[in-house]
């Protein structure tokens, strides 16, 4: 079904992600923080908590609460975004919460809240995925008890071909069936915590897409792990 000779606009192979980069500890005030870059998309995340939850009536005596906010800088895109929350940012905030909550051991901090703030500095598609990748690292960095890491990538279909990590140009692809955008987030052990789709695809090909996403998430996991480990310099610096 997948067209083997399909040429991606930037010359990448079908299963090739854009160059990616990760770093933790970039915001001194935060309890945990991280940056994740994929191609031209740059996301940063800061974690504050666990801390006391206000107002008191929102507290949950059985388990802690995770709160995420996602925000795009006005100048992260060509057409300026007015500062402040939008419907889209509110939705993505919620999706990010759902993507991360399953791995957090919330029962270890009842009545408390963990705040995760994601900010997009430069956007070139895949912003929610970059945000989730940064947030997962920031949560680990903050010492939040977590069962596993979460990695996120957008797979897609361009006309009939499955590809990994759509760029903005590819999101605007017009030929044939057009583009199908499939952002997925997975734990390292392979469970899917976030899954969305916009476009047109048969279920068999969708399963193919999930397999490709799994492999990409493993690559992303290695970079997230390295960023966390590298931030501790075990050797004495000269």
């Amino acid at each position: 079904m997948t067209t083997k000779n399909f040429q991606r606009p930037d010359g990448r192979k079908l299963n090739e992600m854009r160059p990616f980069e990760a770093k933790v500890g970039i915001i001194p005030n935060a309890d945990g923080s991280a940056m994740y870059k994929s191609g031209d998309t740059i996301a940063i995340a800061a974690v504050y908590g666990p801390k006391k939850m206000h107002p008191q009536h929102s507290q949950n005596p059985e388990k802690g609460t995770l709160r995420c906010t996602y925000n795009m800088n006005s100048f992260s895109v060509s057409d300026r975004i007015r500062p402040g929350p939008s419907r889209r940012s509110t939705e993505i905030s919620k999706i990010t919460e759902w993507a991360l909550e399953p791995v957090l051991m919330l029962d270890k901090f009842p009545n408390m809240v963990v705040d995760v703030h994601i900010n997009i500095i430069q956007a070139d598609a895949g912003t929610r995925c970059a945000g989730i990748n940064a947030a997962a690292m920031a949560l680990a960095h903050a010492g939040i008890p977590m069962r596993d890491m979460v990695s996120s990538v957008s797979v897609g279909k361009l006309d009939k071909t499955i590809v990994v990590d759509l760029s903005k140009e590819e999101e605007d692809f017009e030929e044939g069936d057009g583009p199908t955008d499939i952002p997925i987030s997975m734990t390292h052990s392979g469970n899917i915590t976030h899954f969305q789709l916009d476009g047109k695809i048969e279920s068999k090909q969708l399963m193919e897409a999930i397999e490709m996403a799994k492999k990409s998430c493993e690559e992303i996991y290695e970079v997230q792990k390295k960023a966390l480990k590298d931030s501790i310099n075990m050797e004495e610096e000269a």
């Binding site: 309890d31 945990g32 908590g49 666990p50 801390k51 006391k52 939850m53 791995v103 051991m105 901090f109 009545n111 408390m112 680990a140 960095h141 903050a142 010492g143 939040i144 008890p145 977590m146 069962r147 596993d148 890491m149 734990t187 390292h188 052990s189 997230q224 792990k225 966390l228 480990k229 501790i232 075990m234 004495e236």
Partner: protein
């Protein structure tokens, strides 16, 4: 992970530290089948088959016996509510002061905004109970108070207080380390206080290092520190944490 008893390596949540039936899951880890898996980001350590993760970050867990430093946030009819940086408030009852305090004189002893050194004598469902009855506890009158990551406190104190002793020797300052990460430094000269603070911040940056005590002595010498005549401290004050 190697078989060496005390070798430590950085682990992230979800990472398998060791595999094998006879390992036991300690703090920060969970047993999943035959694997010991980390659920905290930190340094994995194995001693006598007990595997645990020493966290490098994360919120302070209050424990009975801990010395803490906090700020008075509220005065009630029978005591002071103290904020020690935990979700639950800590409470210092009227009865837990060294001298008698009458009910209408609470704010003369400590007012809102005052900082105090206290000891936790109970942690229960209702909150954290504090006392300032023993020596070395009570309202802080002057000096510098600042916060570090509470996970680094054991390194600042050192084994049997070895690290804190070095800082005192080179700066001649009184240093009280709260287990909740707040540190109080009081010296005769402000330069000495700031020197001590810089030393402590240096320790927090290198907290994962082996041989940190020697490294800190070296740091002091490199930065013009000179060992001074120290005051005599009794065993209790050295540790910042009272033994049960």
């Amino acid at each position: 992970m190697t078989n060496t008893e005390h070798k430590r390596s950085v682990v992230i949540p979800g990472e398998t530290i060791v595999e094998g039936d006879n390992y036991l899951p300690g703090e920060g880890t969970e047993k999943q089948g035959e694997k010991i898996v980390a659920f905290r980001y930190g340094l994995a350590e194995e001693t006598n088959k007990l595997v645990k993760v020493i966290p490098l970050s994360g919120v302070y867990q209050p424990r009975r016996g801990n010395i803490v430093i906090g700020k008075v946030s509220l005065i009630t009819f029978n005591g002071w509510v103290i904020d020690i940086g935990t979700a639950e408030n800590a409470f210092l009852p009227l009865m837990e002061t060294p001298r008698f305090v009458s009910k209408d004189r609470l704010d003369e002893v400590m007012k809102i905004g005052d900082i105090t050194v206290a000891q936790i004598f109970g942690v229960n469902g209702r909150g954290i109970d504090l006392t300032i009855k023993s020596r070395g506890l009570g309202r802080i009158d002057e000096g510098i108070v600042f916060k570090i990551n509470s996970n680094k406190v054991p390194r600042v104190i050192g084994k049997e207080g070895s690290m804190i002793r070095i800082i005192r020797e080179y700066t001649n300052c009184d240093i009280t380390v709260g287990q909740n990460g707040f540190i109080w430094i009081k010296g005769d000269k402000i330069e000495d206080e700031l020197f001590a603070k810089r030393a402590i911040l240096f320790i927090t940056e290198k907290s994962f290092m082996e041989g940190l005590t020697e490294r800190v002595e070296k740091w002091f010498k490199e930065n013009g520190g000179v060992k001074k005549e120290t005051k005599k401290y009794d065993k209790e004050e050295e540790f910042g944490e009272r033994r049960e």
